[in-house]
Symmetry: C2
Subunit: 279 residues, 2 copies
């Protein structure tokens, strides 16, 4: 296993972690100041700051990307909706290429409004990714399906286990892999096996960390700082690295009541500290 | 598939659904009044009403049980804690026998305080059930492992998929099966396959229904009335019945902000109506 404390350059910040109080330019400058060498920015922040400006700024600060957030949200109630989703994914792909991201993260989407057909939603996801791959492959941009915790199956992502993502990748072929976020998968009894399977297929494209708090007060916005919850992060990182993953450890914390309220400089300081000692 | 509207006797009420406003005696009388022929009571309610009184009352009203809630909570920080949990399960087992329940539902428990070792907690669960089976088999009382939604993995149950419960049952042998609650398993891509597997092994012991609301406001206490959410209940019931399940459809709704606040007579009326039309 890699010694993270000896490799600060492997830490990446998902910009959602401090976006409530800083714009993207401030985040890039803050990361540079705190010695954080990579980020994973969100599309709306990039749009606000201007794609060309962001590309220039990260180059100027020597900041790399660990991923680009995000494509996905494929299922829709009708063909027009599905095409809008696909067109939007194509734009996300182009932005990821412009920013030289190593992969485009896919949060695949849940049930279309009014639908109870989760199997159908999953088929729509697979068809959407197959369509996007036709553009992603020639562009050399990897797609990374992020299985989301089953509590998001209805409204955010109907890909909910790594086994399911692996099955989908097997069918879709080259160019698509997975993002492993400990928050979403830590509970999975098949996790070790499925990480190894993804590793053998060379499809471990991203690794995200935060923590599961007990109790968890909110389904979406109560994620914990690494070390404050029950996830055995080093164990999962060990499996991911044994599977050949050599990329960044990306910190992504949605925490409306705690970390989003704090001074971002403090948040970055704690992220670095916990990266050294807990991850 | 069974025609539920033609078989009102297959409806059962998990007493948690109306327990905020009614004691167990009032629930039994209410069910009799509404033509609900079965219940699944909770241990603390039974203790409060008196075990002998409850046994007498359900007989007097012609009310059967669809299960008894609940044993489990096996993992603990030390041997003494584990033994206390086992002793408590033995008492639950005896109560289930006294009440002639068809099975004792097991909510297996999560991580011991301070632990991040979910694999270890799972081993403790399996050891605890193996111990309890030594008493359950001669008593003729079936145990039913209820896989809980992964969002409860840390604090309520570290058995989180039907595949995992099936694997555990395979190792434990005769006398233990599963309870399928649509709320906990509806998202599972392997659900149909694992229900069929449980059916082949003759271990489908209970079937619980409610609904998954979008959005869900609380991890524990925001379950929906059947029909108000996104779960395709008839599809899952079809799989369970194809697997040989011939027992009750048990309604279990934890809903602090909505159904628990309503007049229980109204809740029972809606349960019956949705049982006929939605389940």
């Amino acid at each position: 296993m890699r010694d993270l404390a000896a490799h600060p350059e492997l830490l990446s910040l998902n910009t959602a972690t401090v976006r409530e109080r800083w714009g993207l330019e401030a985040i890039i400058e803050g990361c540079a100041r705190h010695g954080i060498r990579a980020i994973s920015p969100w599309r709306d922040q990039v749009a606000k700051a201007g794609l060309a400006n962001v590309a220039k700024s990260i180059r100027a600060h020597g900041i790399g990307l660990s991923g680009y957030c995000r494509g996905g949200m494929f299922p829709a109630a009708d063909d027009a909706g599905r095409q809008r989703a696909r067109d939007d994914n194509l734009r996300a792909l182009e932005e990821a290429v412009t920013l030289a991201a190593p992969c485009l993260i896919l949060v695949v989407g849940g049930l279309p409004p009014g639908s109870k057909d989760i199997a159908g939603a999953r088929r729509q996801v697979e068809e959407g990714i197959a369509w996007l791959l036709e553009a992603a492959r020639p562009a050399g941009m990897k797609l990374a399906i992020e299985p989301l915790h089953p509590m998001y199956a209805a409204d955010r992502a109907c890909v909910n286990t790594l086994a399911q993502a692996n099955d989908m990748c097997d069918r879709l072929g080259a160019g698509v892999g997975v993002a492993v976020d400990v928050y979403h998968v830590w509970w999975d009894p098949a996790l070790e096996r499925e990480i190894a399977r993804a590793g053998r297929a060379g499809r471990l494209h991203a690794f995200h960390v935060c923590d599961w708090l007990v109790p968890t007060a909110d389904l979406l916005l109560d994620r914990g700082m690494m070390g404050d919850g029950v996830i055995d992060i080093p164990r999962i990182r060990g499996w991911v690295e044994a599977g050949g993953f050599a990329g960044h450890v990306e910190v992504e914390i949605f925490s409306a009541a705690n970390w989003w309220k704090r001074e971002p400089d403090e948040v970055l300081r704690v992220c670095r500290e916990r990266y050294d000692t807990v991850c």
